[in-house]
């Protein structure tokens, strides 16, 4: 039952400004994902909420009450660390029970809560083990169990899945989503993986260089990116971004390839389109033509890649299509799913 408010937060380490004038409100029971490349300030922002770092400027508040000066141990937050931060000299049960022990919960009650938390993350058979006797996935679940054994005001998760292998990550992701829905605790989740962000979040804050580039629901961020950075960061494969120059009725890519699309304004622009919003068509209907660079089978679809100027452009195609390299193909954009950005600033240029 906690709303987190960050107002005017600045954080510098020495001369390096990691977070710049950040303003963000995380609603009660919201699952907010901080998404961005490494070094974008997302982890630092979360650590400030935990009290492990202190903002150089600005105010952090829980439910409107300033907590800048409240030390970590009194903020009543729970956190899952990237490397889990388990206590190697304690058994799994003792690890999970530690937050309760610190709060003076009686032993019997402690045991009951630990058993329940362990059951939730399917750790019951491992309670007597030591952390070093567990696999990576099991350790991650111990960290998770330790954070849910009590009901904290705020959940913080710092790339909790990044040390798991790809298969396990999918399972653990589903588990976290399920837990979050069940627990209904305000959550901040940090990741550089846009798939995690898209699947888990109520809202995503896309960060770069200490600044939030866009804040919105996953669909909003995917369908209506605020700038070229967000467009290129979200989606798999990433949105195709081609630098073009408006010329006559159409545009021309670097290297001279003409594309039959009307630019919203003259000058240098970046054209953005997702692989699934482009089609391979006969030359007569095409916006441009280019030889196939590579052709890949994905299973449920195929992916043709062509070179436009100096940029590779991926086009999703039906699964039964087969193309040889160097075959000349025509490509058509979905005009409704086309994005223009200022080539210099990356800002969205709306038609």
């Amino acid at each position: 039952m906690t709303t987190i408010t960050l107002s005017g937060i600045d954080k510098s380490f020495g001369a390096v400004r990691i977070v710049r004038d950040l303003n963000l409100t995380v609603a009660d029971r919201e699952f907010l994902v901080l998404l961005g490349p490494s070094g974008c300030g997302k982890t630092t922002t979360m650590r400030m909420v935990a009290g492990l770092e202190h903002p150089t400027l600005g105010e952090i508040a829980f439910d409107g009450v300033r907590i800048n000066e409240v030390p970590t141990q009194r903020r009543d937050v729970a956190m899952v660390f990237q490397n889990y931060g388990l206590y190697p000299h304690m058994s799994v049960a003792q690890n999970i029970a530690y937050p309760l022990k610190l709060r003076g919960v009686p032993a019997a009650e402690r045991e009951r809560l630990v058993a329940r938390a362990a059951e939730r993350v399917e750790l019951t058979p491992y309670l007597a083990r030591m952390p070093r006797e567990l696999s990576g996935g099991q350790r991650q679940r111990v960290a998770l169990a330790r954070s849910i054994v009590r009901k904290p005001r705020v959940f913080l998760m710092d790339e909790p899945l990044s040390n798991l292998d790809a298969k396990l990550r999918v399972v653990a992701r589903a588990q976290i989503k399920h837990l979050a829905q069940e627990l209904e605790v305000t959550t901040i989740y940090v990741t550089h993986d846009q798939v995690e962000a898209m699947t888990l979040a109520h809202r995503v804050a896309v960060m770069r260089d200490g600044v939030i580039h866009q804040l919105g629901a996953p669909a909003e961020i995917y369908n209506d990116p605020a700038d070229a950075f967000v467009a290129g960061f979200i989606g798999n494969p990433a949105m195709n971004l081609v630098d073009v120059e408006a010329e006559g009725a159409g545009v021309r890519a670097e290297g001279g390839l003409a594309i039959a699309l009307a630019a919203p304004r003259p000058g240098r622009l970046t054209l953005g389109a997702r692989a699934e919003d482009m089609r391979i068509v006969p030359a007569s209907e095409a916006h441009f033509q280019a030889p196939v660079y590579t052709f890949e089978l994905l299973g449920e679809a195929t992916m043709a890649t062509v070179m436009v100027g100096h940029t590779l452009v991926a086009i999703k195609a039906p699964k039964d299509l087969r193309l040889e390299p160097d075959t000349r193909i025509g490509v058509r954009f979905d005009p409704a799913r086309l994005f223009w950005f200022d080539a210099a600033s990356g800002a969205r240029v709306r038609a």
Binding site: A50, G51, L52, P71, T72, Q73, R74, D76, V77, A78, M79, F81, Q82, N83, Y84, G85, L86, Y87, P88, H89, Y98, P99, L102, R103, A143, R146, L156
Partner: protein, 288 residues
Amino acid sequence: MSAASVPGVPGYRAGPAERAAGWLRALAVFVIIAAILLPIFWIVLTAFKVPRDVYTLDAALWFAPTLENLRTVFEHPWNLGSKIVNSVLVASGTVLLAIPMATMAAYAFARFEFRGKQALFLVVIASQFIPAAVIVLPYFLMFKQAGMLDTRSALVLVNLSIVLPYAVWMIKGFIDAVPVEMEESAMVDGASRARVITEIVVPAALPGIITAAVFGFTLTWNEFLFALIISKQDALTLPIGLIGFRTDRGDLWELMAAGGILITAPMFVVSLLVHRQFIGSLTAGAVR
């Protein structure tokens, strides 16, 4: 190289050069072990000899053993009993004071950022490079002023100054190896700094702390120069007790050897007890 000459591969046979190298290695190991163990072996033998046998090579290895020496050293005028008590009190007192202090200092050096940290740490370490002979006189004068000459407390203080820097340095190394995330996660779980240190950091760095304790105990137990200058009669420790066996009637080697056993034996037992811990601590952090 042919496949057959790869060590560990079935069918591998060492060539003459490799075999010679193997023998040389074995010989080198043997020489080193002999150099370390022979004197101890000799002391142990001497401790069980009657004075007549000490000075003759005929009885070097074959002699009628006696427990007389081990009894004599506890009698007047040698009284090694009281010296053992002093040694035990001084060494354990030093360790009991040094280890908590060193752990706290090491934690501060490992985790906190403060002005002059590097310089201060350097000074702590560098204090060990001052030759004991240089500071023994100032110590003597200070303790004389304070009326603490020939007291066990004075010896504990002196030994603290020797043991603390080593202990701080050693323990800091182990705390450095404790992941900060462990501490942060304890703080998030609700632990105060004090509880983080006692419940998380100390257990995690325990091998290092025990190592430092054993090392400190050994240093103090064997300390000679300061004990010689500061103690006179009441606070005499075992190593000083040993020089008593150099009398004007000559050196009483068999008694000195018996005293030597009394000095060495506890260290032997301690090192056996902590052996596993010790080895563990030396390799800690080498692998995850």
